[in-house]
């Protein structure tokens, strides 16, 4: 057992951090916020040139690195509050294509992801389900083709995606289709999210799909479940970067802000709060490493689910606590749009609210405890 990252991995993280510090500082990000859906093609192209969009892709399609590299990169995405659809495209959808797609589908789609010419979004969650994974959207087979009907809610990065990966129940179990947002019968209600990013509600009104729009063959239930788990692990890593940055900016602020004739960081009540924020961010990183490690390994599925939920629960709670306390310690300035802290707070809040909040994942661990107790009772 060892938790150390190798030199190449640390060098990669360092290069992402340096790139974002130089090219995506807080003022640049503010300019991006003013653009439609916060998206900046120049930055996305630069990501492609730097190789950031190839992280975690299969080697056969130009990929570099794996789960650890993706985790370290997501920490930097979080630290810099990147608005681009990196999470949906690289962390969520590309690995699902790699898991499900035929060779020719992979060869068609994945190099375009790496080149920066294809942004993706996963249209899976539905309004009725809240955080559950129940899918009502349906695909009927008509001859060689499919007809898709239903609706997806809060598709992250859906407003800027070139293609959507849409889950639907079918005669062969869960299926995933590659759908163009402007295809006949598809309607998107695009909107900004509270953290300055974008999403869409997507409606499918008897959308005709050709056979090759189906990703792979056979039931995709477990592949989608695993894709969502990888997404959860990636969000945990993003939150870790954002929490570390939030803590750092809060410490700096309390060192410079003076009241009662001294820096407010000298007050023990504030110091202890920041110590607690530090402890939670430290342990959140351990949980993020655990989640990434479990998702990468071919181990026991129950243990993987339980640890991924444990990680998201811990990280979600820590994200809420750190965000709230950072705003509190900034006083009035914590409420202002001007400083980064309010932006971190909003992103951390939304990470908790994505793919199951801390209560949802607490319930998942709690249910696993009950199941375990029943098995032991039967023995």
């Amino acid at each position: 057992m060892q938790f150390e990252f190798d030199e190449e991995q640390l060098a990669l993280q360092d290069s992402v951090r340096r790139f974002l510090t130089e090219r995506y500082d807080f003022e640049t990000r503010r300019e991006c916020l003013a653009k439609p859906f916060g998206s900046n093609d120049e930055i996305w192209q630069a990501f492609a040139e730097q190789g950031f969009l190839s992280i975690g892709l299969p080697e056969a399609h130009g990929g570099i690195g794996g789960a650890t590299e993706l985790m370290l990169t997501m920490e930097e995405i979080g630290r810099a509050l990147v608005l681009e659809p990196y999470f949906a495209t690289v962390a969520l959808c590309a690995p699902l294509i790699a898991a499900l797609g035929t060779d020719s589908q992979q060869a068609d789609l994945l190099p375009r992801v790496a080149a920066g010419s294809l942004k993706l979004a996963l249209a899976h969650g539905e309004a009725e389900a809240r955080y559950a994974s129940t899918v009502h959207t349906e695909a009927r087979r008509v001859g060689d083709c499919w007809v898709l009907r239903g609706a997806k809610a809060t598709v992250l990065d859906g407003a800027v995606a070139d293609l959507l990966l849409v889950s639907a129940k079918s005669d062969k179990g869960l299926a995933v289709f590659v759908v163009e947002p402007n295809a006949p019968g598809v309607r998107l209600a695009r909107y900004r999210t509270q953290d300055g990013r974008s999403a869409a509600d997507v409606f499918f009104d008897d959308v005709k799909l050709s056979a090759n729009q189906l990703l792979g063959a056979g039931d995709a239930t477990s592949a989608v479940e695993r894709a969502v788990e990888r997404g959860v692990a990636a969000l945990c890593a993003e939150a870790v970067g954002a929490m570390e940055a939030t803590n750092a900016t809060t410490i700096e602020y309390t060192k410079s802000r003076k009241q009662f004739g001294q820096p407010i960081g000298r007050f023990q009540a504030l110091q202890h709060r920041m110590a607690d924020m530090f402890v939670q961010a430290t342990q959140a990183r351990s949980m993020s490493i655990l989640a990434a490690g479990r998702c990468a390994a071919q181990g026991d599925a129950d243990l993987r689910r339980r640890d991924v939920s444990a990680a998201k629960c811990y990280v979600g709670k820590a994200a809420r606590f750190i965000g709230q306390q950072a705003v509190q310690l900034h006083g009035g300035m914590g409420m202002a749009d001007e400083l980064a802290v309010s932006h971190y707070f909003k992103r951390l809040t939304l990470i908790d609210m994505t793919f199951g909040d801390s209560s949802h994942h607490l319930a998942a661990v709690s249910d696993a405890i009950l199941a375990e107790s029943r098995v032991q009772g039967d023995e």
Binding site: M1, Q2, F3, E4, F5, Q9, T68, I251, T254, K255, G265, R266, Q268, Q271, H272, M274, A275, D276, F278, V279, T282, Q283, A284, S286, M287, I289, L290, G293, R294, A297, D307, A310, A311, C313, Y314, L362, A363, V365, S366, I369, L370, E372, S373, Q376, G377
Partner: protein, 398 residues
């Protein structure tokens, strides 16, 4: 990065488990798991059994007679011993004074004391806190006045754990009043049978005898029993605390107690159904399980960093805070699981083998007292407020 144990680590775990299964006395493990009273012989007996295998100093290097285990192996050993209900390592000797003697003691001190710690011949206790010096330990007032080759020590120590079992005590005493208060302290080793030492029990919140006052009245301590230099004792005392870094998290114990909490929740009836079926109670178990997971992987990260030769620094303060809060939550949930059965005070049921009324008390009588007792964990070894001061000063630069 690899979260899985290696084949060698797994096989090491099997060896440890097998040794424990074959050698840990059943009555002793039943006492530990049921939070019954342990005798001195229960604890020292297990220490001697470990010594026959060369494992009584699990954290020691080979040079001093230890097994020379890696940090991960030490962690596995602790997990296995704790899970099986082995009595705790006698920390004051093995984990606390021994590293100080190894690092700062004379060759003669090393040759005399270390083998006797390993064999169990010497049980050690700690003379740090005083009635007026708790968190502000450096303000301590116990004096050691030098007369020729002897110090004459006077003062009062308190919160001395299991001193009534101990043969030796390591003690901080003031040898100078010049300069900062930290600069006039010496680190002395004293035989508990020395003339002038009296040990008086302190009645604790749960009614048990665990800690003592130790009165020092013209106690003569040979200068040869001072570790390192005169007036440098504070440095050695701080070194001792850094050696408690990972152990302070009490991870193995909390994993064991989580398992025990779940089995209690499965056993306690709640209006005719097992309590564990009540999602409101079970969610509290899930919440502490998640906290334990976060602590576990943080501890493993610290072990890994140490193995890679990096000093994880003041992170032990974070482990202390989380670890102690978890211990308290677990003891609280075990008590609350009992419902009204937490109320009866049946101290005789803490003796192993007791049977009587109220019926069942042999398994639940200890739990409420243990809840009261575990409030100590956020107070001892540097209160959690002191740990937050350390984090904010040393890690956050505030």
């Amino acid at each position: 990065m690899d979260l899985e144990y290696t084949a060698a680590e797994k096989s090491f775990r099997d060896d440890v488990r097998q040794f424990i299964t074959r050698n840990l006395p059943r009555d002793v493990s039943a006492k530990v798991l049921g939070h019954k009273r342990l005798t001195r012989e229960d604890i020292i007996g297990w220490h001697r059994i470990l010594h026959t295998r060369g494992w009584s100093g699990p954290t020691w290097p080979k040079e001093f007679g230890g097994p020379g285990w890696t940090a991960v192996e030490q962690h596995i050993f602790d997990e296995e011993c704790t899970a099986a209900g082995a009595p705790p390592v006698i920390a004051f000797g093995v984990r606390m004074v021994a590293p100080v003697i190894m690092k700062y003691g004379s060759a003669a001190q090393q040759q005399y004391y270390l083998p006797r710690i390993l064999s169990g011949e010497h049980w050690w206790c700690q003379g740090y806190s005083e009635p007026g010096s708790g968190s502000d330990l450096a303000s301590l007032k116990t004096t050691a006045v030098r007369r020729g080759d002897t110090y004459v020590v006077n003062g009062q120590k308190t919160w001395n754990t299991l001193g009534h079992f101990a043969d030796w005590m390591f003690c901080l005493a003031r040898t100078s009043t010049e300069g900062r208060s930290q600069e006039g302290i010496s680190f002395l080793l004293m035989n508990m049978k020395s003339k002038g030492i009296s040990v008086r029990p302190i009645a604790l919140i749960d009614g048990e005898h665990e800690v003592n006052e130790v009165w020092l009245d013209d106690v003569e301590v040979p200068v040869a029993q001072r570790v390192g230099d005169e007036n440098k004792g504070w440095t050695y005392a701080k070194y001792l605390l850094t050696h408690e870094r990972v152990n302070i998290a009490r991870l193995g114990e909390s994993k064991r107690e989580l398992k025990s909490l779940k089995s209690i929740a499965a056993r306690v009836p709640n209006n005719g159904r097992p309590l564990i079926e009540d999602s409101r109670f079970r969610d509290a178990i899930a919440a502490v399980e998640i906290e334990i997971r976060a602590l576990e992987y943080t501890v493993l990260g610290v072990l890994s960093a140490e193995a890679a030769g990096r000093d994880p620094g003041a992170i032990s303060s974070a482990l202390k805070i989380s670890g102690s809060e978890i211990q308290q939550t677990l003891s609280e949930l075990k008590m609350r699981a009992l419902g009204p059965r937490a109320l009866p005070h049946v101290p005789e049921a803490l003796d192993f083998g007791w049977q009587g009324e109220p019926s069942g008390a042999e398994w639940w009588a200890a739990l409420c007292g243990r809840y009261f007792n575990m409030r100590k964990t956020s107070i001892y070894s540097g209160s959690n407020e002191i740990q937050r001061n350390i984090i904010s000063h040393r890690l956050l630069g505030l």
